[in-house]
């Protein structure tokens, strides 16, 4: 059970790093944003995982349920998801403008054009 | 006006004046120059009104703000500072007069900027003179550097900008790398940087530290131009002559030696230095500078450069005098600050006048010039004699005291240096005089030129008169200087 439990955290680590890799290694700006999105999702997963209570259920008080998982991480992640999509939207808008201004969305090509 | 108010007023007036000059500069040149003269006169009046008080033994003190805990922005008037302030404020009037002639005669650009910055640098000079502690001194010392920088670069061409850069880099880097750490060290060791009679370091710092700190101060105060930090002085020769006068006579180098004197007397304390046996280091450095600079001066072809190296040598007289740590030498140092100021300003005014009238800058061009510009060259001669130390000029008085001090200290090195340098001085100055008066003017198309514009001539006549006058009426200066004696 313990190892199985830890598996969640490992997945978190792998996801985090997959996203991070896309951010640092990919020159394509949209790919970077995709990576960023994954990167943040990994963190969401981590929070939700440690908010889980064994034998608990979603913290909505209803018939019969007694044990509840912690609501706080869920609240935090709700906020974080919203932040994430906001960042993505702004980033995509930027990408569109960059495409119009440079005709490319590859980082290295843009840098080439920037160099005087 | 109370003494404290006068101190503050003397600091504020030049800045106010600068502001007025800037505004007046938009209206007309005449009003601008009137404002300059007015400010200069007003400043001199205020500063001189303090002299009787200080002579009577009063020490007005003003604290403006506590900048750091235990470190105040404060001013105190003591004899040495009084002397310096009085000298600077007086010479500013003369210098302004001269500037009017010179700047108009040469059609210089950006004259408003020139007068504004001149006023600002005078204000900072007064700040240096009246500083009550190391911090305040440092603050105004740096401000002086910065406000004179644009003056040095006044012409704005490649050469003057490059030279001004040397000026700035040498002065700022010495002050940041050496002077500032020395100050911090002082504050940390002594817990205070207050200028106190007898010094603040006694009993707080002993042994090799004293010597090291002293060297930090001496080389950190780059304005005193002890070799090898003298480099900025010849470089600054590109500036217009009134600025050279400001640098060499009125404010900048004087601020340097003044600061060293203050540090030796009020920070280390004469007795403490004597106990630590480190002053000889300073004497040696100064002696080397005197001889070396004089020899370099011998080889100069450009008049202003020659005068610059002469200044380097003369400054080290003051440094050496202080380092001798005897009462007579102390008086000599104070007197030499004044005497050199009068003599050197005369020389520079003369050089500037020659340039304005005849566009001549090199020595060989000066043949026979005495006949075309007799007033100027007479003044030049008086100045030169004062540099050498021949009576009846002011230079004789101060040299005499320094020599006596060296004898009192039983310092052979100093004695020999003074004698040797006097000979060297004579060797590089007398030929000029000879050439000017007796050589035949060989230039084929000897241009018909007479004297420089009258304000310039008037100014240099005045300073020459002062040089001569100092020989006779030196008692007031000596009286002030004697008030320093309790420090010895």
């Amino acid at each position: 059970m313990d190892i199985l439990g830890l598996y969640h955290y490992w997945v978190f680590a792998v996801l985090l790093m997959t996203g991070f890799y896309a951010i640092v290694a990919k020159p394509n700006l949209i790919k970077k944003l995709i990576g960023l999105s994954l990167f943040q999702s990994a963190v969401f997963l981590c929070y939700i995982t440690f908010g889980k209570l064994a034998g608990g259920t979603a913290p909505i008080v209803g018939k019969g349920a007694e044990l509840f998982s912690s609501p706080l991480p869920q609240v935090l992640i709700l906020t974080a998801i919203v932040v994430s999509i906001s960042t993505t939207a702004l980033g995509l808008a930027l990408v569109l403008r960059i495409k119009e201004a440079y005709g490319s969305i590859e980082e290295d090509e843009i840098q080439e054009q920037d160099a005087p | 006006m109370s003494a404290e108010a006068a101190v503050l007023a003397s600091l504020a007036l030049p800045l106010l004046g600068a502001f007025l000059i800037a505004l007046a500069g938009r209206i007309s040149a005449n009003i601008r120059e009137a404002a300059t003269m007015l400010t200069a006169t007003g400043l001199a009046l205020i500063v001189w009104s303090l002299v009787p008080l200080v002579m009577a033994g009063e020490r007005p003190q003003v604290s403006v703000a506590e900048v750091l805990p235990g470190i105040e922005l404060a001013f105190a008037v003591e004899p040495l500072g009084m002397l310096f302030a009085a000298l600077a404020s007086m010479l500013w009037i003369v210098n302004s007069l001269y500037s009017i002639g010179y700047m108009r005669g040469n059609d210089e650009a950006n004259q408003t900027r020139f007068y504004v910055l001149f006023a600002v640098s005078l204000g900072t000079t007064i700040g240096v003179a009246f500083a009550a502690n190391l911090f305040t001194l440092f603050l105004f010392y740096e401000a002086l550097t910065l406000s004179t920088y644009p003056l040095v670069a006044h012409k704005g061409d490649q050469r003057s900008v490059a030279s001004a850069r040397v000026y700035l880099v040498v002065l700022l880097s010495t002050s940041i790398v050496l002077f500032l750490p020395a100050i911090i060290w002082t504050y940390m060791a002594a817990g205070s940087g207050e200028f106190t009679l007898g010094g603040v370091l006694a009993g707080k710092l002993e042994g090799a530290g004293v010597g090291l700190l002293l060297l930090l101060f001496v080389f950190g105060i780059g304005k005193a131009a002890v070799m090898p930090v003298h480099l900025w002085l010849p470089a600054a020769m590109v500036a217009p002559t009134p600025v050279s006068a400001l640098l060499h006579a009125v404010a900048v180098v004087k601020a340097g030696v003044f600061a060293i004197t203050k540090v030796v007397i009020y920070i280390f304390g004469v007795q403490h230095l004597l106990d630590a046996f480190v002053a000889d280091l300073l004497v040696a450095a100064a002696a080397f500078t005197i001889i070396a600079a004089s020899i370099v001066a011998l080889r100069q072809e450009n008049l202003k450069r020659l005068l610059a190296y002469s200044t380097v040598a003369q400054l080290s007289y003051v440094v050496m005098a202080i380092a001798l740590l005897t009462p007579l030498a102390g008086i000599g140092a104070a007197a030499h600050i004044v005497a050199h100021a009068f003599g050197k300003i005369t020389l520079f005014f003369a050089a500037g006048a020659i340039y304005t009238a005849a566009r001549k800058t090199e020595l060989h061009e000066l043949r026979g010039i005495g006949r075309r510009m007799p007033v100027t060259m007479s003044a030049f001669t008086i100045g030169a004699l004062s540099m050498i130390g021949i009576p009846p000029t002011g230079g004789f008085i101060s040299k005499w005291y320094i020599l006596a001090g060296a004898y009192q200290a039983d310092n052979m090195l100093a004695l020999l240096t003074i004698i040797a340098s006097t000979l060297l001085n004579a060797a590089y100055l007398l030929p000029i005089i000879y050439m000017a008066w007796f050589a035949h003017d060989e230039t084929f198309e000897a241009r018909a030129h007479g004297e420089a514009p009258w304000p310039a001539v008037l100014a240099l006549t005045l300073t020459a008169a002062l040089t001569l006058g100092f020989f006779v009426f030196h008692s007031a200066v000596l009286a002030l200087a004697r008030q320093l004696l309790p420090g010895f």
Binding site: L16, F20, I23, L29, K32, L36, F39, Q40, V43, C46, Y47, F50, L72, P73, L76, T79, A80, V83, S86, T87, L90, G91, L94, V95, R97, I98, A101, Y102, I110, Q111, D114 | A22, V64, A65, V67, L68, L73, N110, R113, F135, F138, L139, E142, A143, L146, P150, A153, G156, V161, R165, L168, V169, L172, S173, I176, V177, L180, P181, I184, M188
Partner: protein, 503 residues
């Protein structure tokens, strides 16, 4: 009646003004509203600062819920000082920057820009007053997103690529921070900073805590542009509209540094054994490198704004260096430098904005002769430059003085650090003087060769408000160089609070 609510109002005023501003269509109105809100915030910040002098702390329970359960606001000396910097910078930049922005922005976008400005302001003050780890994250994102918008308003297309880089790195930084506080939350079960500090003892030295400390530090270091994580900063500052740069350069990185210091000192350092040593061990070399590299690059940079941006990297190094000494005096110097650097750098960038109104660009050769065209503006520029160098009599000198004295408490290492500080001061002289020289002595830049230049014609229309504001900032540099009781007192009290129990 409002007095107890001031910490909250500090955030609420710009926050609620921001949506209004979007709706204000006529030219100038959005600016006026934003400026008014910013000035109100500034007034509140002043009142707050005066009321926390003397180690007082103001707290506020948002929603009336008590501390570990609800969100708490807390204004102590450090926060108050930072609030002064943020709101002051915003107000001055807005007041002075109207004309400059009018030139830079198309009229239809103006309301959005000013709204984003207020949102950035909201974010910054929100971070400064918050005492809740997650709340800090939220407001950090508000400020970041708004800053991206502010920077992207630059006329140069390079602003876009610069912002994108900033967006990526900023978001990575924020996410690292989120991971860090997640781990801390997992181990302590709380998000309130004070509560966290109390509960951390029990789990100190567990692996997640150590990793959390690392994530938080790195994440915030990214946001604070600590060397070598500064690479987003130069271009972002260089290609943003000038007024934006003046605002952000004065406070953006400092806010992140503020959070970093609060986290590392209040929470981690006091409870993790050896953390102080690690903090110093990792960050001091970075600080030194940052100082030297930043100054070094600035010395050879020909673009005025990039030059100043690299100087910012160096100045952040100073702040970090002070903090990495882990002593009251060191922190004191660091915090004071935050205040003083904001004064100097804000003034410099505002001056650049003024120059840009009459020149065709802001490369060094393009500002040639500006001293003749705009002597007063230029004089203010020089005063701020001197403060940046740390010339005595200016605000910049004081913090360097304190930094040097703090370093000297550390023996031989201290002397080495002092050498670094002095060396970089010399470098600062060099780069400041290159600007001054170009402005004074370089030949007037031949504007006719530039097609899009509008030199001097605009000078008549040029607002006198900007030079006035510039002079206010310059005089503040001088004033706080001499009479600095308020920032000094706040910084001292902040340093004491941060080090808490440590001697």
């Amino acid at each position: 009646m409002l007095a107890p609510h001031l910490p909250m109002l500090q955030v609420v005023v710009p926050l609620l003004m921001a949506p209004f501003v979007v709706l204000l269509r006529p030219r100038g109105l959005a600016w006026a509203a934003a400026t008014m809100a910013s000035l109100m915030a500034f007034a509140i910040a002043i009142v707050l600062a005066l009321s926390v002098v003397g180690d007082a702390t103001l707290t506020y329970r948002v929603g009336g819920w008590m501390a570990p359960y609800g969100i708490e606001l807390r204004v102590d000396a450090f926060g108050a000082l930072l609030l002064l910097v943020i709101t002051g910078a915003s107000s001055m930049a807005l007041l002075g920057g109207q004309r400059s922005l009018e030139r830079a922005l198309p009229p239809t976008r103006e309301p959005y820009y000013f709204s984003a400005w207020l949102l950035a302001l909201t974010g910054f003050v929100g971070i400064a007053v918050s005492a809740d780890a997650f709340n800090i994250f939220v407001f950090m994102e508000v400020s970041s997103l708004a800053s991206y918008v502010l920077i992207a308003g630059g006329p140069d297309r390079r602003a876009l690529s610069a912002v994108f880089k900033y967006l990526i790195m900023g978001t990575v930084g924020a996410t690292f921070y989120l991971v860090g506080i997640g781990l801390v939350y997992m181990m302590t079960g709380t998000l309130n900073l004070a509560d966290m500090a109390g509960r951390i003892e029990a789990v100190a030295d567990t692996r997640p805590m150590i990793v959390a400390a690392g994530f938080i530090t790195v994440g915030l270091a990214l946001k604070a542009a600590i060397f070598p994580l500064h690479i987003w900063l130069p271009n972002a500052y260089a290609y943003a509209p000038h007024v934006t740069t003046a605002f952000l350069a004065a406070c953006a990185t400092k806010v992140a540094l503020y959070v970093l210091l609060r986290f590392d000192f209040l929470i981690l350092q006091q409870h993790l054994s050896g953390h102080a040593f690690q903090f110093a061990g990792y960050l001091m070399p970075l600080a030194v490198l940052g100082i030297l590299v930043g100054s070094g690059v600035a010395m050879f940079e020909r673009d005025l704004k990039r030059l100043l941006a690299f100087s910012s990297v160096a100045q952040i190094g100073y702040m970090l260096l002070g903090a990495s000494l882990v002593s009251v005096s060191g922190l004191h110097a660091a915090i004071l430098h935050m205040f003083n650097h904001a004064l100097a750098k804000g003034g410099l960038f505002l001056a650049v904005a003024a120059f840009a109104a009459v020149t065709s660009g802001w490369r060094l050769e393009q500002i040639g002769g500006i001293a003749r065209t705009m002597p007063w503006t230029f004089a203010a520029f020089v005063v701020c430059g001197l403060s940046l160098i740390g010339v005595p009599g200016t605000a910049g000198f004081l913090s360097k003085w304190y930094l040097v004295t703090a370093a000297l408490e550390h023996g031989a290492l201290g002397i080495a650090l002092v050498c670094v500080i002095l060396l970089s001061s010399l470098m600062a002289v060099a780069y400041v003087w290159r600007m001054v020289e170009s402005a004074c002595f370089a030949p007037d830049f031949d504007a006719e060769t530039d097609a899009d230049s509008t030199p001097n014609r605009d000078f008549a229309a040029f607002s006198h408000l900007l030079p006035t504001i510039l002079w206010i900032v310059a005089l503040a540099n001088l004033y706080f160089g001499l009479a600095n009781a308020l920032p000094l007192e706040l910084a001292k009290s902040a340093a004491r609070t941060l080090l808490g129990g440590l001697p």
